[in-house]
């Protein structure tokens, strides 16, 4: 073996280690709704190398039962929810686990009756499960919060919100996604007698606290560390409210808009972007010493169910059905691009991965200068309203009929 060969081999090994080290260092699991920090942002990156083929490598694709739940990822396993109909009026909702490398189903656990939408907008679960240390926590369309064993999906405990808290079934089913904060499982319940927001012992399902007024909405709570304190922030009706994991009310704020569906977005540590499609635009509020003041409002970026991202001083998200970049400082529209329908998006490094409502994935450079499309390919077939997830160089996505994994790096 020549010196050059040895050197080349060592160099190749070194580079390979760098890549895997880089993944190990930067790669985060996608353990909850909207991923790490519930921001829709992955700390990984997508190469800027010239794209030879618009479609990245398809690792696997398979059929899946109807649901709107995102895919959560941890330790090479995927967790999501799905449903199966028995006949036209009945069936079941499940939480399921899949092997991330092959897509092979590992287990599924039946959790509730299937929600069948009377207008054919889509059946099955809406919420995204959250991955804890030992358990997976899922929330069915009919309001059953369930803890499952990670290894075999066996049900550990379950709480029926309609029975327990008097929660009213929303028109399109319970849709909010649970979150783990300081080991406590928190979720919006929409219960009566000031039990809008509830927290449980994740191991036993015992109710730890219940607070707040409001019916069940479609919005999931945001978690942010503000003023050195972890805050769980709910946007429900016209109220924005914050609690700590002990259930202490930190602050409340009356919004001018009503009933956002998209989860609010954290901006620069202590500011919150909120938007609702039936409003006149978006607002940004600042939280300081548990006081909330409106900083900015602008007549655009009206989010339906797709949450907006914040990156490098700008918002990227959907104004009804148009993708926009808007200055977070001034509210000025930087660019608008149509053609995605009511799509969704995540950010990987400085690249937006947009999934159109017809299953096209588009990679866009996250820059306010201009809309800069880098690649576009048909990723899924059919109506696609669920945002993708990104872990270890791979994007995982699903819609109401299929689930796929594409390798980007």
């Amino acid at each position: 073996m020549t010196k050059q060969t040895i050197f080349s081999s060592l160099l190749a090994l070194f580079l390979a280690l760098q890549v895997s080290f880089s993944f190990a260092q930067n790669s985060e699991d996608w353990k909850q709704f909207r991923g790490p920090a519930r921001s829709g942002i992955s700390s990984e990156s997508i190469s800027d190398n010239k794209i030879s083929d618009p479609a990245p490598e398809l690792v696997w694709k398979k059929k899946i039962g109807c649901a709107f739940s995102e895919i959560t990822v941890s330790e090479d396993k995927l967790y999501t929810m799905l449903s199966e109909k028995k006949d036209s009026t009945s069936g079941w909702e499940y939480t399921a686990a899949f092997d991330a490398k092959s897509g092979k189903e590992l287990w599924r656990n039946k959790i509730d009756s299937i929600f069948i939408d009377r207008d054919d907008f889509g059946d099955g679960p809406r919420a995204t499960p959250v991955i804890g240390e030992k358990y997976i926590f899922s929330f069915s369309s009919y309001g059953k919060l369930t803890a499952h064993s990670k290894t075999d999906g066996k049900q550990i405990w379950q709480v029926d919100f309609m029975a327990e808290f008097g929660s009213t079934l929303p028109r399109w089913g319970f849709s909010t996604s649970p979150v783990l904060v300081d080991g406590v499982l928190v979720i919006e319940a929409g219960g009566t007698e000031e039990r809008a927001f509830v927290a449980f012992d994740q191991n036993t399902g015992k109710l730890l606290w219940a607070k707040g007024k409001g019916n069940s909405s479609y919005c999931s709570p945001l978690v942010a560390k503000i003023d050195g304190q972890k805050q769980i922030i709910f946007a429900n009706g016209k109220t924005l409210s914050s609690y700590n994991s002990k259930g202490e009310t930190l602050w409340t704020y009356t919004m001018k808009m009503n009933s956002p569906t998209a989860m609010p977005t954290l901006v620069d540590g202590n500011k919150i972007f909120i938007s609702a499609i039936r409003s006149s635009g978006f607002i940004v509020v600042e939280v300081k010493n548990n006081q909330v003041t409106e900083l900015l409002k602008a007549p655009t970026m009206k989010n339906d169910y797709s949450s907006t991202l914040y990156y490098d001083g700008h918002f990227y998200g959907f104004n009804v059905a148009a993708l926009q970049c808007v200055s977070a400082e001034t509210g000025e529209k930087k660019w608008t691009k149509r053609g995605f329908g009511k799509g969704s998006l995540i950010l990987v490094g400085d690249k937006l991965l947009v999934l159109s409502d017809k299953g096209q994935m588009i990679q866009v450079k996250a820059t306010p200068t201009a809309y800069t499309e880098q690649r576009r390919f048909q990723a899924l077939i059919g109506k696609s309203w669920t945002a993708p997830s990104f872990v270890k160089g791979k994007v995982y996505m699903r819609n109401q009929t299929e689930m796929a994994c594409y390798k980007f790096n």
Binding site: D120, F121, I277, D304, V320, A321, R338, G339, W385
Partner: protein
């Protein structure tokens, strides 16, 4: 003095000049816009367009078909989510079958919807022959719209509705329009965007049209446009409800022989009159008949179908007593029977309509004094089609 007159003339000219310039701008821009679309001469040869493509609503993409005519007629057959929607417009008013409103039959559209259908009926934009149409156009200015230089024109339709059109300053083709739209029959603002302009037989037409209103997003992607295809104008006619169609045999003018039961229990002729039946709505067949038992009276009888009860409702109104009676009924074998038993009057009345042929039918009136347990013949009306 001369100096003052001269100064006055200068002031007048200064005041008038901008409007002269602006008027020229409007006409110039519209002329260029029409030329960009292929020119008025080509468009004036278009009598009908047939558009086929894909329509997306609620992120569900399905087939779409529409006809539009020079005289402002419009017919569309599309799928909106899980429901098939039919729309039709004769240039002034129209109808729709829209199951999203929980009506499975054709209904007339309201004035807000008429404005929407008038927009849908346009071949392209309303600027073609806009003066003849009774529209007014003002030049608003040159602006930037999403980074694009545009000329903004304010168009006031002949119905008073205002639209704002944004024409690409380079191509003069439409980029965006803000207009009044409708969602579940209520008027609201909307924005529509145009893209993917293609030439079809010299006519430049947008093949991608996206409209947003409130939280809705609707996309039309045109696949094919036919110029001057055959168009069956019967499509524009409002269809009758299938249940009321069953009474269509009564439509027209009739000679009516009136008979009553004599003391001997036999029928005897007591009068002769005429009657006319017309469909006044998708769900109303209306009869006019003049009777003269003792006093002359004009009677209006309206036959309609009530979806909730699943029965026909018949309303009788006479201009003598101004009384209003309501009957309900249904078909039973070959007969159409209706009564007012639900009124629980001391004397109930039942009519049995027997359709004997296309040119004759018989209506028999019976009375009951025991809430319908027994019926006694009282009058018979024999309808013979008028020559």
């Amino acid at each position: 003095m001369n100096k003052k007159i001269y100064q006055l003339i200068i002031v007048c000219l200064t005041l008038c000049l901008p409007s002269v310039v602006l008027a020229e701008n409007v006409e110039t821009i519209i002329a260029k816009h029409i030329k960009a679309h292929g020119g008025l001469e080509k468009w004036n040869k278009v009598e009908t367009l047939k558009i086929t493509g894909r329509f997306t609503g609620f992120s569900i993409e399905k087939d779409y078909m529409a006809y539009k005519t020079r005289t402002g007629e419009y017919y569309a057959d599309l799928q909106l989510g899980k429901h098939k929607v039919i729309e039709a417009f004769d240039g002034k008013t129209g109808w729709t079958i829209d199951p999203w409103l929980e009506l499975n039959y054709a209904r007339r559209i309201n004035s807000s919807e008429e404005n929407v259908f008038a927009q849908k009926a346009e071949f392209t934009t309303p600027f073609f022959n806009y003066k003849e149409k009774g529209h007014q156009v003002e030049f608003v200015g040159k602006e930037k719209c999403e980074g694009l230089d545009v000329f903004v024109l304010k168009l006031t339709r002949n119905n008073g509705k205002i639209e704002k059109w944004y024409l690409d300053a380079k191509t003069f083709l439409e980029y965006k329009c803000e207009s009044r739209w409708v969602d579940f029959t209520s008027e609201l603002p909307s924005e529509v965007y145009f893209d993917d302009f293609r030439t079809v037989e010299g006519l430049v037409i947008p093949f991608f049209v996206e409209r947003t209103f409130w939280q809705r997003d609707r996309v039309l992607e045109v696949k094919n446009i036919e110029i001057n295809p055959d168009f069956d104008r019967n499509l524009i006619e409002m269809p009758k409800r299938k249940e009321i169609k069953k009474l269509a045999f009564m439509k027209g003018a009739w000679d009516v022989k009136i008979e009553s039961v004599g003391r001997d229990g036999k029928w005897r002729t007591t009068g002769q009159t005429v009657s006319n039946f017309e469909f006044t709505s998708t769900n109303i067949l209306q009869q006019k008949i003049k009777l003269e038992a003792m006093f002359p009276m004009n009677m209006t009888v309206s036959y309609t179908y009530n979806e909730t009860s699943g029965k026909y409702k018949i309303a009788l109104l006479d201009d003598l007593s101004s009384s209003f009676e309501v009957y309900e009924g249904d078909f039973a074998d070959q007969n159409f029977i209706f009564h007012n038993l639900q009124e629980k009057a001391s004397v109930s009345t039942q009519f049995t309509l027997n359709n004997t042929s296309n040119n004759e039918f018989i209506l028999t009136k019976k009375d009951s004094k025991d809430q319908g347990k027994t019926w006694t013949n009282s009058q018979k009306f024999t309808y013979t089609r008028s020559k």
